[in-house]
Symmetry: C2
Subunit: 756 residues, 2 copies
């Protein structure tokens, strides 16, 4: 066992943290040493930097280009011949680079369309085209063999006719606007814009309100000519482009809708689609704005509120009607094979400590940007690590790569793999490192807050290919130039908590594995997302055209992987976590206070008659009615638990800073995130076990931190909030205990497994 002095970068102390600065200037000061690589002894640091330089020399932009061109030449969604071919291609490459590689197959529900038709049947008629054209400027756009046309996976079958009604983005707030106007969607077919939430929320909320079908469309204000020149002149969505995508109720659970909690092998016992709580109960179809225009033009009734209106050259009306539409959808409800490619390079010292790097491989059609742009970066990392291994080098910990299939329909490949291997993952996995589509621009960093300082240091050590400064400093420059209130002038940039939308969800939120999700973007116009035009040609003209950011992503993720694999002591920092969580507690407390104040104000105005008097008698808008008063909710237990946790984190950091490396200490650190989970999970969605991070029940991808109490407050469920307050308190206490174990292990070199 060697003696290690851990060096920590400057902690960015979050502004206005209710508990004050997290530690005093003196302790901060002794930790500042920008020359030191976090988690490494001085001796090992030098070797690590050398290793990383060798790693970099193994990266070739031309590799990424060639792999993308090959892998996106045919439609390659889960279940397609190209899905299997790409899995085999990837596996062969991994093998050739020296990895112990297998293809692990799961058998998952993936319905594909047999019939799709949408017609305006009255008062005028129009038959929607529901197809994207072939363009001479886009070579693959005429490859139609195996192509899935625009559809929403896990829509219900149906043949329904009804009055059309425009519901803006179809999120709960939009239904409040409808209610003001006394308009119900019951028995109607809603048409909703994409945007404002994950798409699956829209049909779910429509169904909850009694709608019989849901049409999704891309408004040109959000995704089309209003944003910029459309394809093929520019990158934005052309009039006939449509966004495919899943509408499974992922905020309940992702993965195969038929096998929650269980890896879907061929003989696994499964529900029927009718029994599955995540399969949508009404038909749903995505359409282009060319197809939406005749439908929206045929609506009358109240003019939509200003923030509902889009960029089509019409007055947006809500309806319902007089437009009547018929939507007919029929799917083939098949169980298809999902091919995950898993590659391993065994750790020389701690083979049972796993660092896993992953990216999905399946696309909706060709999937150049989403996900192959990220996948080829991961391949480049594997190739370069393989080249290091060929020299005889081995990581201390086991490095794994996961090339996931079936992410698009709902994280199926990764989720089934995690569910199937749950016990081993629980024991062995130290961290999961995710990427997805990548592009040109600025680094985006999300993940477990314990890894904030670590990933900042990685970003500090990689050069931005356009400017020559580090990717961290370029990101900082952009944030400061945009007037960011959270990015500091010096020190770490806060990383974002993770919601959902990519394969980290089963690791982080189901299993409590510390996770990161990284990507570059912000300088490439969108519009190809989930359309047939997410192609190699589009990416080469408008994405990361020379793959320089693909190589840069590989440098970032390669360092992330290699440092975690080789660290003497795992480079996690505990006070960054408590700083953020303390802030989230403050946010939820403020949310309740603001709700109370606004409810009181609202009810006072209702009582005064002001709302009634303010109404235009010629408009049929209803005055708001009184709301239930917001009770006082005690935050005392949570705040006491938080105070203890802050203290435990401070002590753990201090202890680790001068600790000797030991397996026990590393295990204790690796297991810390598990203490943030609870087997009860979140209300109405036990699959989501993490108590700090979850996708929002009514936002989908958008994160809700401390979701148990935050969503209870947002949904005004006060009894639930009191219950969840207890659950959060228990979790904080468990994390405190886990931190205390880390402190003990750091001090004595021996530790019991942290409490769960």
């Amino acid at each position: 066992m060697r003696r290690v002095l851990l060096a920590f970068g400057l902690l960015f102390v979050l502004a206005a943290s209710p508990a004050g600065p997290l530690f005093d200037a003196q302790t901060t000061h002794q930790r500042l040493d920008p020359e030191r690589l976090i988690g490494f002894t001085v001796a090992n640091q030098t070797a690590q930097y050398k290793l990383e330089a060798s790693f970099d020399s193994g990266l070739r932009a031309s590799d990424l280009d060639g792999w993308m061109k090959h892998m996106t030449s045919k439609p390659q969604h889960v279940g397609s011949p190209m899905s299997k071919a790409n899995a085999e291609y990837t596996a062969e490459l991994f093998k050739s680079w020296g990895f112990d590689t297998e293809i692990e197959v799961f058998h998952v529900l993936f319905p594909t369309p047999l019939e799709r038709s949408l017609e305006l049947v009255g008062p005028t008629t129009y038959k929607a085209l529901l197809d994207e054209p072939a363009l001479p400027e886009d070579a693959t756009s005429n490859v139609r063999q195996d192509m899935l046309p625009p559809f929403n996976a896990y829509s219900a079958d149906g043949d329904v006719t009804g009055e059309l009604i425009f519901v803006n983005k179809g999120i709960p707030a939009d239904y409040e606007e409808l209610e003001k106007r006394g308009i119900s969607v019951k028995g109607k077919i809603v048409i909703a814009k994409y945007g404002g939430s994950w798409r699956g929320i829209k049909p779910k909320v429509a169904y909850e309100h009694g709608a019989i079908a849901c049409i999704l469309y891309s408004d040109p204000m959000d995704d089309g000519y209003f944003q910029g020149d459309v394809y093929p002149k520019g990158p934005y969505k052309m009039d006939m482009g449509a966004q495919r995508g899943s509408v499974a109720d992922m905020p309940q659970y992702p993965g195969d809708p038929l096998t929650p909690f269980v890896g879907a092998k061929e003989d696994t016992k499964r529900m029927t689609p009718e029994e599955s709580p995540t399969v949508m109960k009404i038909p749903v179809l995505p359409i282009s704005y060319a197809d939406a225009l005749p439908l929206l033009s045929a609506l009358d009734g109240p003019v939509a509120p200003p923030n509902w209106r889009g960029a089509l050259p019409i007055t947006y009306h809500i309806g319902p009607g007089p437009a009547q539409v018929r939507l007919k959808l029929k799917f083939s409800w098949d169980i298809v094979p999902a091919y995950n490619v898993i590659a391993r390079l065994k750790g020389s010292e701690f083979p049972d400590e796993w660092i896993m790097r992953g990216n999905h491989r399946d696309g909706w059609v060709f999937g150049a940007a989403d996900p192959i742009s990220g996948h080829v970066a991961m391949m480049a990392e594997a190739k370069a690590i393989g080249a290091l291994a060929k020299t005889g080098w081995r990581p201390k910990r086991t490095i794994m790569f996961g090339s996931w299939d079936a992410e698009e329909p709902g994280l199926l490949g990764s989720t089934e793999w995690v569910e199937y291997h749950r016990d081993e993952i629980d024991q062995k996995m130290v961290a999961y490192l995710n990427t997805d589509g990548n592009s040109r621009g600025f680094i985006g960093m999300g993940g477990s807050h314990t890894m904030q300082e670590f990933i900042n240091q990685v970003a500090r050590d990689v050069e931005d290919p356009q400017t020559g400064v580090s990717v961290l400093e370029r990101r900082r420059a952009r944030d400061l130039a945009n007037g960011s209130k959270t990015t500091p002038e010096k020190g770490d940039i806060p990383i974002n908590p993770l919601g959902s939308g990519s394969d980290y969800s089963p690791y982080l939120q189901h299993m409590g594995i510390s996770s990161l999700n990284i990507g570059f973007g912000g300088e490439s116009g969108g519009g190809s997302y989930h359309s047939i035009f997410d192609s190699y040609d589009h990416y080469k003209r408008f994405g990361d055209t020379d793959f320089s950011y693909g190589v840069t992503l590989a440098k970032v993720m390669g360092r992330t992987t290699l440092r975690l694999a080789n660290a003497d002591i795992l480079p996690f920092r505990f006070e960054t976590f408590t700083g953020h969580v303390n802030e989230y507690v403050g946010e939820v407390e403020k949310l309740v206070e603001d709700l109370r104040t606004s409810t009181e104000k609202h009810n006072k105005l209702v009582a005064s008659g002001a709302f009634e008097l303010a109404l235009d008698p010629k408009e049929s808008i209803l005055a708001p009615t009184a709301k239930d008063a917001v009770p006082f909710i005690s935050f005392t237990p949570v705040k006491n638990a938080m105070a203890a946790l802050v203290e435990a984190a401070r002590k753990a950091d201090t202890a680790v800073a001068s600790a000797e490396a030991s397996e026990a200490l590393n295990v204790a650190i690796a297991q810390l995130e598990r203490a943030m989970t609870d087997d009860k999970g979140l209300p109405r969605r036990p699959w989501y076990r993490h108590q700090v991070y979850a996708p929002g029940f009514y936002t989908g991808y958008g994160v809700k931190t401390l979701p148990g109490i935050r969503e209870a407050a947002e949904e005004l469920k006060w009894d639930e909030m009191n219950e969840q307050m207890l659950q959060v308190t228990n979790m904080l206490n468990a994390v405190t205990a886990a931190m205390n174990e880390i402190q003990r292990a750091a001090s004595v070199g021996e530790v019991a497994k942290p409490a769960r």
Copy 2:
């Protein structure tokens, strides 16, 4: 001389006034008496209420309807046969109601178009239609005799060809965006949206930047289908509608461009149009969005920033070019007669104290909403007052009505009348009470802050026709329902300071006459403004369809006129004025501080290189450069003067509250607003003499309070700011002296004329 106890309503103490509450609770308390009519003795109050009830009984909605229908049957702009006919019609009616009536003619420059053509000449071609269609649903839209087609008055003649460039709204901030992109408008033809400033600002700023012509268009996002259904289905601007209007440089001076400061009689010495500083130096033409679409579609170059984009179904590009346009305009530069109708009812006690009520009469075409809807309310007031007079009643002070011609080209009728009668007005006029177009909805109140309490009490005493509560309480309900931060739950609603855009400007801002501007609106969709569709038919379908708000306006303005004419002591309140002005001082101080802070922050970011690093190297945007540091500016003299003024106002209010009525006291009160003027006027625009209220030099209609110091700060003219600080201090001292005179007159019943 009778003993008078003035009753004052509750003063709304402005929030966060740096000098604290304006007077203490004890003094406030003794003034509260909602039963008392401000300015009247108990005995006279009863008579006044009775008079107002008689006045109300003389108002007939059918009168307003009939007068509007008659007066809007033909185009009636200044110089048209119908202008003269309507003047004679109005004069005859005033005479028939018993008023001493005259038509006073001025001779003013009013150019009308001889030739208008606009063509896209390359790379594609398009010839703009420049005409509004006749519609079967709109009876007068086919009356083409004497109709002025869409044009901008006081545009230059010209025949220019050049590259087109889109400049958003064409205000200074938009040119900063162009500068960032290294784009100049020099030698180009700019196309700008209406909105964001008064229209005349756009060609002025374009000219200042070297453009050779300016096209104005109505974007459907601001004025068209994005807002609601278009005419004739709904009230909003149809695709071929265009907004006429003046582009004289009114922020320099309004009125006849050839005769500033002087009433333009037939033999008045005048400049040539070429010499006039307010005639635009480049050709300017307003077009419809149907005509704008081919022009904007033909632009390329950078995509316009998000907040520049409108609702046309295109990607908005800035250009310049490749679109080349040719604009040819030729005007007949005629001197035409402007017919003001002036009616008088002599005061029985104080014939030389004038209360003037005014509304313009001329429209751009038929002018139903703008201005006849307000003009017919004024006529109803005159008829009802005439009926009172026929019973033998006489006002104590002289009541005058002004029916102004030539307001549309730039307040010509009113301004020339004021300039011609300046000495008499200066001596005799107590208040000017303006209205303009009127519609359905909520009362809007702007004016001299000394009249805030008075007009609130008037609004308290008039019933809203749709809800039965007072128009004040309905307005309050709307403000509170919208979350207003300035309208209190009880007490007076703050009135807005006045910028420009109607005939109060020469009274208030040139002469220092206490003024009010009142109107109803907020429940009628717009889109007819300055188009051929501002017609009787449009107004009857979408405006104040039954003229109930026309009658309500007459009730408000009738009370305003009659109370001012009959008050024992003029019902002005001085602490409302100081409360607002104190707030304006605070705003300007904060403006300078914010500028300093933001400049420091900006320069720090420039120095750090963050702006450069944040730029997308594939976009040709330039990084911002360092700005001149903002010096420290002393507000001490202004704040000391303000403190003295606050004290003087408090004493004046207290003294008046228990004063005996006297002519001297009333004269002192009437003259108070004169002390707010300065013969030097504002920098570069001496015509604007008021030091508290002015239209913005770069906003046009929008008000700038304390314009001398506020605009110097906004334009970063620090030497000028220091000069103006002195001028504001002098003004505040003069108002303090005038308040002291009021106090003395209130105490002793005798007073010297307040200092100027």
